[in-house]
Amino acid sequence: MTRVWRGLTPWLFLLVPLAFLITFTYAPIVNMLAYSFTDWDGLSPELRYTGIGNYTELFTRPDLFEVFWVSGYYLAASVVQIAVALYFATILSFDVRFRNLFKGVLFFPYLINGVAIGFVFLYFFQDGGTLDSVLALLGVHSDHAWLGTPVSANVSLAGVSVWRYTGLNFVLFLGAIQSIPGELYEAAELDGAGRWHQFRHIIAPGIRPVLSLSVILSVSGSLSVFEIPYIMTGGATGTETFVIQTVKLAFQFNKTGLASAAAVVLLLIILLVTWIQRRLVPDDKVDLV
């Protein structure tokens, strides 16, 4: 009797967590796969099997596939973001006056509500808004509608994304740099190594795991951008991203089948990227048991 009880104990602890996990993560994935082969509208009681029809539609209709190119802007932005974060993490890990103040200022945007950021930057890019006023102050009088053309709108939105997320990368890098033992720098300084050499030979190898984590977060983040463009432009003027399109397909046009296929494609791409990254940079910290 006690043996049976003992065998059951871990399951009593795991019952609720597993129920949540299966209901809200695994069941949706299975359902989504099933929907993606149908033309279901999300409402009618019957769904018709259409084979790979949704997938061919997705890859052959240029207007549906176009949204992937928008991710390119955000991908480029994340390169800038990682470079900037790395630069500031490096200089702020050495002795700098007002260090904590600068740290706080750089990190704070990451904590701000996305809708608030959207509004702040809608005003920023407005005609006669913050950006135009600053440029006027510098003697540049621009009559540019920043969110008016697809290229400039996407560049502006990607810029907002850099503003918002650099802080997270910065703090992750800073944490990694500070976990490098201080003696290493002292030894390097005795050997006459300058800052650049210290960065190249001590810091860069020390933060490799975090760097690769940031790269993968950036790639999957760039593919699943939603908030900022949805709030600021609603996906107008060529700023529609993959997730905005999927949400619109599913919840506005009731094309649940097609939206599911789109989501499956996105999920597969992200899993592929993760897998490649794990291959390239094996991370031994990841195993759970």
Binding site: P10, I29, L111, G114, V115, S133, V134, S224, E227
Partner: protein, 276 residues
């Protein structure tokens, strides 16, 4: 100037430039929130100072007409329940996985592990149907269930901590006749305080700022959380930048206060949360 001095100057210049880039958009919105409707429409430029620096009328409008009070209430309710639930679920899972050997342990762990790779946004189309079938759609329980059910990072954080608690503590308690629940509740849980702080902070900020889930699952105006209520400003306040700005500042302010009070823990939380 020596080379070193030049380098130092450049470092400070870059830091100041970055601070301006970060702060300027926020400061301008703060200034705008203090202007009158006339001042914003007169087109005196975004950088001009408001006449009356203590003009809080827009805040009253935003707070009242934007239904911010009910928004903060809804957010607080969802925040407390889902963060509490996440702490319980995460620590129970970590305890069960670390302290017991049982059949199917490996597959169970794998289930949690693989789930961490699936970004929530991708499965929303199907999750939506499941939430609806439970009758949770357009209730506060929809986001609560989703926040509690899909947080793998907190399980990682708890697991790291449970591992660092010596097993001998459990064993001596067991000799005194304590059962698994007493051990979890009386010994493990209180020792998890640092991990709980981390999870509360990281999860709390995520829930406070989330837009996607409440937007999809709670269209009802009465159920607006701060994100969705602020988003609704776009309609009625359209071009009233002074009101929209006041709303944005109202939403940012609590974050700023919490950040200033808990700085150190917040940095640690994010470093720990993301790198596990």
């Amino acid at each position: 100037m020596t080379r070193r001095a030049v380098a130092r100057t450049l470092v400070y210049l870059s830091l100041i430039a970055a601070s301006v880039v970060v702060l300027l958009p926020l400061v301008v919105v703060l200034l705008t929130s203090l202007k009158t409707e006339q001042e914003t429409s007169n087109d005196t430029g975004a950088l001009s100072l408001p006449h009356d620096l203590l003009n809080f009328r827009n805040y009253v409008t935003a707070f009242h007409d934007g239904r911010m009070l009910s928004a903060f209430g809804n957010t607080a309710f969802i925040l407390v329940v889902s963060v509490g639930g996440t702490v319980l679920i995460g620590s129970m899972t970590a305890y069960a996985i670390d302290r017991f050997t049982f059949r199917l342990k490996k597959p169970v762990v794998a289930l949690f592990l693989i789930a961490a790779l699936v970004p929530g946004v991708t499965t929303q189309v199907a999750t939506f149907r499941i939430v609806t079938s439970f009758g949770l759609f357009d209730t506060r329980w929809a986001p609560i269930a989703l926040y509690m059910g899909t947080d793998i990072v907190s399980i990682y954080i708890f697991l790291q901590f449970v591992r660092s608690i010596p097993v001998s503590l459990d064993e001596s308690a067991r000799l005194d006749g304590a059962n698994a629940f007493t051990i979890y509740w009386r010994i493990i849980f209180p020792l998890l305080k640092p991990a709980i702080a981390t999870v509360v902070i990281v999860k709390g900020i995520a829930v406070y700022n989330d837009f996607y889930i409440p937007f999809l699952y709670m269209p009802n105006q009465d159920l607006g959380v701060i994100s969705t209520s602020l988003f609704r400003f776009k309609g009625p306040f359209g071009a009233h930048w002074e009101t929209i700005s006041a709303g944005a500042i109202l939403v940012i302010l609590p974050t700023l206060v919490v950040f200033l009070c808990l700085q150190r823990y917040i940095y640690n939380g994010f470093t720990r949360g993301a790198t596990r």
